[in-house]
Amino acid sequence: MSTTSQKHRDFVGEPMGDKPVTALSGIGDSLGKKLEDQGFDKAFVVLGQFLLLKKDTEMFTEWLKDASGANSRQAGSCAQCLKEWCDAFL
């Protein structure tokens, strides 16, 4: 738990509602912009992609790296964030 960031804890702690994609752990402004350009403007849309990949964090990480140019750490962080959110709320 202590290894997760505040951003991660903030996201996983409550339903995501209409939060923007930049609210996701690992997704900053530049990555967020790239995702928005592809239509992933809200966190729940990225969640949709995560669910389409059957919550497979490895595949999601690969997808995110391809789609936004995220590095392994960022993509992994986002995947973990979504996974924990799903575990809590889905």
Partner: protein, 163 residues
């Protein structure tokens, strides 16, 4: 194989064929599944080619272990059948390889031309038949090293005991 030209359904079928767990194949997910399929296909083609080498080796070794003078035709038939059925029993055959390596060379000449049709990949040399030989060599070297260390230890002990 250009996966990008295949339809979503085709990709889905391929994923199922290869036993890959997957979600729906849609526009946003198909690229990832294409990549996965490419990796798997690459792996399986590499594995298949090494399997082919095994197949060939088994034919050679099983030929040697039979060694009954029923005439060459009957011989080859037995070899081919045995090769197909004992594909998984390579561990057993490895032991035979060690003992009968010298005879393989003699008999392989006669068998080569008739086995050629049935062997899947004739061009690749039977690299795997040497690996069991190297295992034995390494084991022997290890034993020698252990024995040398023991001798040295004994000698050292005696030397100290004397002084």
């Amino acid at each position: 194989m250009s996966l990008s030209k295949k339809s979503n359904d085709d990709i889905l079928k391929l994923l199922d064929e290869h036993g890959i767990k997957h979600g729906p194949v849609v526009d946003s997910t198909r690229k990832q599944y294409e990549k996965k399929l490419e990796k798997v296909v690459e792996k399986s083609s590499v594995k298949a080619s090494s399997d082919k080498t095994y197949y060939r080796e088994e034919e050679e070794t099983s030929y040697v272990t039979y060694r009954s003078p029923f005439g060459e035709e009957g011989f080859v038939d037995t070899v081919i059948r045995r090769g197909i059925s004992t594909r998984d029993e390579d561990k057993e055959l490895d032991q035979h390889t060690n003992a009968s390596k010298s005879t393989i060379q003699f008999t392989s000449k006669t068998v080569n031309h008739s086995v050629q049709q049935s062997s899947l990949q004739y061009n690749k040399p039977p690299i795997k038949s040497g690996s069991s030989k190297w295992k034995a060599v390494r084991l022997l070297l290890l034993l020698l090293a252990v024995f040398a260390a023991a001798c040295y230890g004994a000698y050292w002990y005696l030397w100290n005991y004397q002084s």
